[in-house]
Structures are given as structure tokens and as C-alpha cells.
């Protein structure tokens, strides 16, 4: 189980597209560095089941959704800009 101050993240990817793979690698790196031990990542491959895009109204891939802590937040792209990801996830104040 995730801690109260933990992050529940869901990354939507499309098989092995370069951006999908880059997004997984970047997200893993950022979390290890900035949220060690208090994050949970779920990776959804929309190539296998496109219907899963409905839940979070995904239109662009890759897209990262922060499910917890609330409110829900969304970052589109391969997460190569670490600063933007940290800001988008509210991990560091502006």
C-alpha cells in the first residue's frame, strides 16, 4: 500500500513507440530521485487495450496521470523535461 503522502501515478503508453519508452524511463528516473519509496507507477499500454483510454480521456500518448494525491493532474509528453514534470506533479513549488 502507498503511504498517505505517496504518489499514485498512471502512465499511458502505446507499445514501444520511442516517446512511450522514453516516458517510462524518464518517469522511473524522476521518481527514484525525487520520490524514493513513496510512489507507485501503473503503466497502461493502449495498444493492447485502447478502451482503457476512456477512463482518463486520453488523447495524446504518452500521458502521465497523477491519481494521488488529489487533485488529479495530467502531463502530456515523454517527460524529458524534468523541471516541468516536478512542477506538474506538485513535487516542488514554482
Amino acid at each position: 500500500m502507498i503511504e498517505d503522502d505517496g504518489y499514485s501515478l498512471r502512465l499511458y503508453v502505446a507499445g514501444q513507440t520511442p516517446r512511450s519508452i522514453a516516458a517510462i524511463a524518464n518517469l522511473k528516473k524522476i521518481c527514484e530521485q525525487h520520490l524514493p519509496g513513496r510512489y507507485e507507477i501503473e503503466i497502461i499500454d493502449l495498444m493492447k487495450d485502447p478502451a482503457l483510454a476512456m477512463r482518463h480521456q486520453i488523447v495524446a500518448i504518452p500521458t502521465l496521470i497523477r491519481q494521488l494525491p488529489e487533485p488529479l493532474k495530467r502531463i502530456i509528453g515523454d517527460l524529458s523535461n524534468t523541471e516541468r514534470v516536478l512542477v506538474g506533479l506538485d513535487i516542488r513549488p514554482n
Binding site: 513507440t17 520511442p18 519508452i21 517510462i24 497502461i44 493502449l46 480521456q57 500518448i61 515523454d78
Partner: protein
Amino acid sequence: MPRDAKPPLFEDADETVQAIHQGDIDAVVVMRGLEGPQVILLHGAEEPYRVLVERMSDGALTAGPDGVILYVNDRLCELTGYPSTRLVGRHLASLFAGEPPKLVPEVTAEASLFRNGDDTMPVAVWSRSISIGDTTATLVRLTDLSIHRRAEQIAAAERFARSVLEQATEAVVVLSPDGHITHASWRAEQLAEQPPVGRMFSEAFPLEAQNTTDAGMLARFSTESLDTMLATRPFHGVEVKLRGERNAGSAFLLSAGPLVDENKDNVGSIVTLTDMTERKRAEEQLTTMVAELNHRVKNILAIVQSVAAQTVRSSGSLENFADAFTGRLKALAIAHDILTHTRWIGIGLSELLTAVLAPYRSADGTRVSLAGPAILLPARTVVPLSMVLHEMATNAVKYGALSTRRGNIDISWRVSGFIDKSIELIWQERGGPELKAGAAAGFGTRLIDRVISHDLDGTTKVDFDPAGVRWTIAFPVGDPAAKRVAVPGSAMA
């Protein structure tokens, strides 16, 4: 207003467009009527390859430079028993039990893949580095080796079973449930008149009961039902013979036991024909030997009894009895030693004379001389002849040539006949005290006469020549099996 309170489409449109322009995304989801959402790839035409990878029979994955799994195909999900969501994001090494495989590009290694958590399966692991966009990744292919291993195990088990059969010294055959022979040991192939594999058991090995009890047992089964029974039920210890010239005179013990597979299902039976011929022969030999021993012990007791009775009658005093009886028992013991040493085969006449007369012969052999051809005495003649020679020697010591210092005995013999051989032996004493005709017909003389005629089936003649007594004894030494089996000493009673 919270960001997720309304559909994000419009709010995020700018961000999406910007992301597309910047090349931050490479796929979009579009709605297609009833089909629902569909993913459209913006770059490359990787779809055919993706389908190939998804549908291939090997497991495949892509791992990032740090070993974290970025992608898995459906087959790898099947092999591991986990959905892709549980595999992506894990470290590659966590898929393997024990030491993870060393990933050397284009080199295949073997490893043990976790399956459903704790179970494992052998896999061949192949890898190669590729660049995906800006990232270096490793493609890994995992091939299930368990089918291959299973085939190897089956082949090894088959080789093992074959070598066991080949080494078996007994006739062992394997029957299918319908009674057909599927395997046969080397010995079984020798016993069968024709190559046994492929035939029904009853056809390859036509059985005949060894005795009446087992005959009834075998007769209860028709040929077909015997085949079926041997192939399906345990069956032990029926003595049988095999029809046909090849195994005439041989006896076998027939046994069958079930053959089960790994699921404990009966898949046939193992039938053994143990060759009992030697064992039965040994049993018969032992029975004969015990009977023979019993017979011989009774004979010895009869001899001892009659010698004792006769000695009592002819002894004037207890002292005389003791001397005579002891001497005769010693002669008997010497005869038995000879028989034991020669395993009841018999002994040469010259050797018998040497052994029995040893106490009376001088060191230079001048007092008792032996002359005659080599001739083997049958075992049955050894005891009576020893007794006779002992009596003659005792008489010579008491009254004849050996009662003086200068007397001597010349023993000579000749053999006549070819098949029905007989021996004529002359015992000539010289240099003893002068004899009076008829004076020496004591017990010893009577014993000699009766043993020769009754036990050796021969004749005796004694001449009381004044120069010295001369015995002429003749007896047959032909094939003892063809003769009446003598009870040595029976004439003495």
C-alpha cells in the same frame, strides 16, 4: 474548479497540440464510432512488427539501460503468468530464479524463469542492444525450453529403460495393455523362436505348465485371456515350460507386474520369465545328496554294529575285544577318509593298499611289496576292501609273516576284462612261522571270505602253504551304476 471536474479535451487541447509540435508525443487516441477509441501512431510504420512481436511464440521484452522493463509481449505474460502491468517497470533480473542471465548481445544463455510466482521454467535468453529514439534499450527474447527438456527427459528415460532391458540376464518383456510385446530383453529374444516385439505374448512364448497344480491354473485361461491378464494384473510364481525345441527341458517362473506412467495410470505390464532350470537341478541334486548321505550313515552304523557283534563273539577277553574292535574301527575310518578326500569317486588300488597297510610297512618298503597295474577302484569297493586288507594284515601280524622279524608279504594283482573289469589280487606271505593246514580259519578269515563274496561280489581262495599263507581274491570293478548297490559290511552281520 478542480481540474478533473470536466472533460479535459478542450482544456488540454493546446497542450496536446504543443506536444505534437514539439515531438513530445508519438501517438494519439481517436474515437471511431462504435469501435471505440483507437490508437493512431504518428511516427513510423511499426505496426507490422508490433503484431509479429505480439504474436510470436517466444516471450519478448524491452529493457531500458538500467534494466527496467519497458515493454513485454503477450507471450511473455503467458510464460510468466503475469499481466503486462505487473511486468513493465520491474527490473529484468526479478523475472529469474537464482542468478539472472548475463546479457551478452547475440549470445543465447539459459536461465530459470519464474512462473506464477514460485514455479520456474527453463528458458533460453537472447538479447541485443538497440536505440529507440534517444534511449538505448535491450531487446530480450525468451524461449520456453520445457517442451525441449521434456523431450530430452523422455529420450533419456527410453535409453535408460532400453539399457536396463539389454543388461537383464532374465527374460523380461514389456506388454501393452492389449497383450502385445513392445520391448524385450536380450535373453527374452533368445528364448523366443521368432523376434518377440510386436507379437502377442502367448504367440511369442507358448506356455505349458510345469506341474499339475499350475496346469489347472493355466488351463483356466484361454490364450487371449492369459494375454490380457498378464498385461493388466499382477501375476506371480507359476512354474512353466516353453513349448518348442529351443527350450526343451528348461523350467521358468512366470511373473507379471503393472507398468504405470507418471500419472499412475496403467499403461501395460512387465512380464518376467525367470530361468529355474539350474535352480531345480541344484534342488534335485541336494535332495539326492541328502538321501545318499542318510543311506551312507545308516550303512556305517550297520557296519559298526556288525563289526562290534562279531568282535564280541570272537574275543576271549575284554582286552582282546578292545584291541580288535579299535583296529577295525581305524580301518573303517581310514576307508572313509579316502572316500572323503576323493569325493566318493574312488581311489587307485595301489594308493588304497599304501594307505591301509601304512602301519605295517617298513621304511624301505621291503616287508610289504606292491606290484600291479594302475586301476581305479569304485567308491563302493573302498570300505569292504579296506576291511579285508586290515583283517589280512592283522592275521599276518598275529600268526603270519609279520609276526617274525624276517617275514614279508608280496602283494600283486592283475586286471582282466575290458568293460566288465575285474581284479585278481594275490597276497603272498613268506618267512613267517610254519603253518598247519586249517589252523587259521578264525574270525578274521571268515570275515574276509564273507565280505569278498557278499560285498564285493567276488571269490576268495586261501592256501595254507607251509612257506606262508596265500590269499587269492578276485572281484569285479565295472561300472558301479550297473551293479547292485552293495551295503558294505552287510555280510559281516
